[in-house]
Symmetry: C2
Subunit: 116 residues, 2 copies
Amino acid sequence: MKIGHVTEVEKETVQAQGSQGAGIQWLLSKRDGVPDFYMRLVSVEPGGIIPLHKHEVIHEMFIVKGKGAVLRPDGETPFEEGNFIYMPSNEVHGTRNTGNELLQFICCINVPPQQQ
Amino acid sequence: MKIGHVTEVEKETVQAQGSQGAGIQWLLSKRDGVPDFYMRLVSVEPGGIIPLHKHEVIHEMFIVKGKGAVLRPDGETPFEEGNFIYMPSNEVHGTRNTGNELLQFICCINVPPQQQ
């Protein structure tokens, strides 16, 4: 068993091009010896955004706090605490904080192909 | 993309033998066409418990609210909101609510062998 707390995990800047006010903490990943899939916590400040992008890995997300929206090429879908989202492989998507408080969500991914 | 909210998902009783006051909601799973791993929300009432058990699937957990403890054959480890836990395959474990409010945690598992 491994246990940790989010306050112990470094927050890295989200690298997707054009991202603003978005950080990511890798809670459980390759460095922990975790197989199959990884768990991250994403934080987006009010006004922050992760613009449209795509990738091979899937997302399974759970909104822990705050309000935001999933961005798609043809519009956006609002979400709030308690929403969960499945984003399939290679589907174009982004996220923005639409509220006045920090947006935080759990975002799990399958193991990236280059790490398999 | 699929989006849902926890309030729309049936809460099933946790079946592990001796469990009390524990419910599980399958947020993203086989019925949603989700590959690789599944996402559940587990809720344990004050005084509730999921006794020691083991299984082949792994757990990656994130404590959303409340206070509790991971049970092991030789003791227990407390946790609270913001803790994350990796439980390897076939490691004996359980959970109990040690606080006065509802305990809720995200619990992701790899796809059970019988569903692969």
